[in-house]
Subunit: 209 residues, 3 copies
C-alpha cells in the first residue's frame, strides 16, 4: 500500500516536472531561443525551485543529482514540446492551467514536507513550499527579461501559502501524512483553479513612480 | 556584559533586516506588485545576501532557517510597510538613508565575521561582507528588471569593502572583536553617509556601446 | 610528470578565469558601471558557474573559498582590464574569441570531472560541465539586463555539451583521464571555433508572440 502511494507520488512528480518544463518551452518559443535556450528554460522552471530549497535546507543531495530521471524528463519535454507547441490547437484551453495547478499543488506540498523532514520550523517549511512552487518560474521570467508574473498577477503564490499552511497545520493536529498531503494539495489546487476561473487577484500596492 | 552586547547586536540585526525589507517594499510599490510580490521583494532584499553567504561558506544552517524570527520581521515589515509608505511624509528625508547605512554597516561586519569564523582567508571574508551587504539589493533590482543600482551609482559597495578591510585588519592587529566590529561598522557607516551627503561617486568606466 | 600536468592545468585555469573576467569587464564598460560594478561583473562571469556547480554537487568547499588566488586574478583583471580595453586596438580580432573558447573548453571539462569525482551520474556530470562553462556568463547578462546571449546565439553551450559527453564517454571506454580531458577540451574548442568561423547557429524555436 505504501509502495503504491509512493509510486503514485513519484509519477505525479515527474508529470509535474514535465508540465513546468513545458511552460518554460513556451516562454523560450516566444523569445525565439535556440534549442539550448529551450532546454535551459525548461530546466530552470521545472527544477529551479526545488534546487534552491535543497540548498537552503541543506539536503544531503539536490534531488535531481540523486535521481537524474528528472533531467531526462526535462530533456524529453524540451525536445517533444517544441513540436507539440506548434501543433494546431486540439486540447481545450483549460487543460494546461489545470495541469499547472496540479503541479503547483504537488510541488508545494513536497517542498513543505521535505523541509519539515529536515527539522525546520513550520514557518520555514511553508516558505520552502512556496519556493519549491514558484522560484523556478521566477528564474524563467528573469532570464526572459520580464518582471516575474508571480509578483504581479493573479493568485498563484498565495495558493502555495495556503497549501503549505494547510499541510503543516493538519499534520500538527495529528492527521496522517497522507491526509495532510491531500489537504495541502487540495487547498493549493482549488484556490489556484478558482483564481483562474473567476480572475481573482490580490490588490496591487502602488506608490506611483 | 557579553550577553548584553549579544542582545544589542541581535536587536540591531533585526532592525537592519526591517530597514532592508522596507527598501524592498518601496521598490514593490513603484512596480505595482501585489501583496505576495511585496513580501518577496522585502525578503530577498533583507536576507538574500546572508543566504548566499551562508551557502558559499558552508554554514551548518542558513541563518533564517535556524532562527525564523527574521522571517517574521520581514512579514511584519511587508504588511505594516505598505501603510507606512503611504502616510503623508512626516519623517525628515535623511532618516531612511541613515537607517540603511546603519544596516549596511552591521550586515557587512556580521558577514565578514561569520566568514572568518568558518575559517576563510581575509580576502574571502571581505568578499562575504560585501555579499551580505549588497547581494540582496542586487537580487531585488534584478527582479524589478533594473540594472542593480549598486553597480552604477554612488559609493555603496565600496563602503562595505572599507568596513570589511577595517574589521579584518584591526582584528589581525590584535584588537578585541568588539573594537574591530566598531571600527568596521564605523568605516562603512561614515563613508556611506559621506557619499550621500556630498554625492560622492566612483568614476564610471565607459567603453561606448 | 603528474605535478607538471597539474601545474599546467592550474595555470590554464587561472588564465581562463582572467579571460572570462575580462568579458565581464567589457560588458561593464558598455553599461558605464563604476569600479565596483566592473569587479562584480568580472567576478560573476569568471566564478559564477563554478560556484553554482560546487553548491549543487555539495563540494566540501567552494573552489575560490579554498583557494582565493582566483579572487586576486579577478581583481587584477578588473583593474588592468579597464586600461587594456581602452587601448587603441592592437591585437587581431580573433585572439579574444580564441582565448574564450579555450577557457570554455577547460571550464567544461573541469566541471564535468569534478562532478564525476563527487559520484554523480554521467548525465549530471555533463550538466555540471555546462553550468561551469555558461552559468557565469548568464548571470553577467542578467545583471546587464539582457536576455543571456547563450540562450539565443550561435553554438556556445552546445560545444560544452559535446565536450562533456566526449570526456565522460571516453573515460567510460577506459582511456586515461588525461586523454579524456584532451578529448573533451578538443571537442568543445573545435566546435566553438568552427561556430565562430562559419557563423554556425542552432535553428531558433519561434512561437510568435
Amino acid at each position: 500500500m505504501q509502495s503504491l502511494v509512493d509510486a503514485v507520488f513519484y509519477w505525479s512528480d515527474l508529470f509535474g516536472t514535465a508540465v513546468f518544463a513545458f511552460s518554460g518551452v513556451l516562454v523560450a518559443g516566444r523569445l525565439r531561443m535556440d534549442g539550448f535556450g529551450v532546454i535551459v528554460l525548461a530546466a530552470v522552471t521545472a527544477i529551479g525551485g526545488g534546487t534552491i530549497r535543497d540548498l537552503i535546507i541543506g539536503a544531503e543531495q539536490v534531488f535531481w543529482v540523486a535521481d537524474p530521471t528528472y533531467l531526462w524528463v526535462i530533456l524529453a519535454t524540451a525536445l517533444l514540446g517544441q513540436y507539440i507547441a506548434r501543433l494546431p490547437r486540439r486540447l481545450p484551453w483549460y487543460i494546461l492551467p489545470l495541469a499547472d495547478a496540479f503541479g503547483l499543488a504537488l510541488f508545494t506540498v513536497i517542498g513543505t514536507e521535505k523541509a519539515l523532514a529536515h527539522g525546520t520550523s513550520g514557518m520555514v517549511a511553508v516558505v520552502m513550499g512556496v519556493i519549491t512552487g514558484v522560484a523556478g518560474g521566477m528564474i524563467r521570467d528573469v532570464l526572459a527579461r520580464e518582471v516575474p508574473m508571480v509578483l504581479q498577477r493573479e493568485i498563484y503564490a498565495t495558493a502555495c501559502i495556503l497549501g503549505g499552511i494547510l499541510y503543516t497545520g493538519t499534520l500538527a493536529l495529528g492527521v496522517t501524512p497522507l491526509l495532510a498531503t491531500l489537504a495541502g494539495m487540495l487547498g493549493t489546487f482549488v484556490l489556484r483553479v478558482a483564481a483562474i476561473r473567476w480572475h481573482l487577484s490580490l490588490p496591487a500596492f502602488s506608490l506611483g513612480r
